[in-house]
Amino acid sequence: MKRWLPTPLISLTLLLLWLMLNQTLALAHVLLGAIIAVAVPLLIAPLRPTPVKVSRPLTVIRLTMYSLIEILRSCFNVCWLILLRSDRLNTQFIRIPLDLRDPHGLAVLACIINSTPGTVWVEIIPGSSDLALHVFDLHDADWWVNMIKTKLEQPLIEIFEQEKA
């Protein structure tokens, strides 16, 4: 099992991808999709050095919901700022110390932050574990640090770094 399906999550994703692309549930396609889902990860296994471990599906859903709401809220804010207050912006870099270490967790965090209008992930500052974040209109740096640490980082640590959580 492990040998043929080293990354079951990815294989599942690929099968889903295949079926959605073809917009069908026909048996032939399911079979073909399954073959692809097994074969492709095996073929490219050497190019995927780090394994993924994901747990706590409930936390995943909670995080997703929160992020979606945050994205919509920020979207409204940013639009507002662009349209009406573009001359009074306080655009700043801020530094957020992170405890999250797992690359996949960090990647999801980056995805959420960058998908949220008004914030851009720049990088983890070299030589430290701090995140350099760029904020469109900064009022309260602590609020950002707090929000990211508790609402985003914490669930991600739970999902990707079970031993830490």
Binding site: M20, V78, C79, S86, Q92, S115, V122, I125
Partner: protein, 127 residues
């Protein structure tokens, strides 16, 4: 204007049509606003936030609208638009990350004499 903007649309169930219309309008406004930000904001570090708006939310709105519409016309659930959403979510963050970092270090190198390794983010603002 011309036939392009006035080509009549198919009749679909109002349960789909009304949210779809709403989503189209909202998506349009967001897209317009985001692009306007790219155009009007005074410096690069502010401009980069403009497109982010429409890439995430604008795309989302239009994709859901499209799902609703084709589910209505083809009379079966059409979900493959989700793929686009997924791909955008996978790729857009990478782009903004990379462009942002490129910009930061380009600016740093330009002001090299006073820059020290690691002080990239100590300055208050980039004008």
């Amino acid at each position: 204007m011309s036939n392009f903007l006035t080509l009549p649309m198919a009749e679909i169930s109002p349960w789909l049509a009304i949210p779809m219309a709403l989503l189209l309008v909202i998506g349009g406004i967001i897209t317009f606003t985001g692009a306007l930000g790219l155009l009007r904001l005074p410096n690069f570090y502010q401009r980069i936030h403009g497109p982010a708006v429409f890439i995430t939310v604008g795309t989302g709105c239009f994709l859901i609208a499209s799902m609703l519409y084709f589910s209505g016309t083809l009379e079966r659930p059409v979900v493959h638009e989700l793929l686009i959403t997924a791909f955008v979510l996978l790729t857009a963050p990478v782009v903004s990350m990379m462009i942002m970092r490129a910009a930061v270090y380009r600016d740093l190198r330009k002001r090299q004499p006073d820059g020290q390794p690691g002080d990239a983010y100590q300055f208050p603002d980039e004008q």
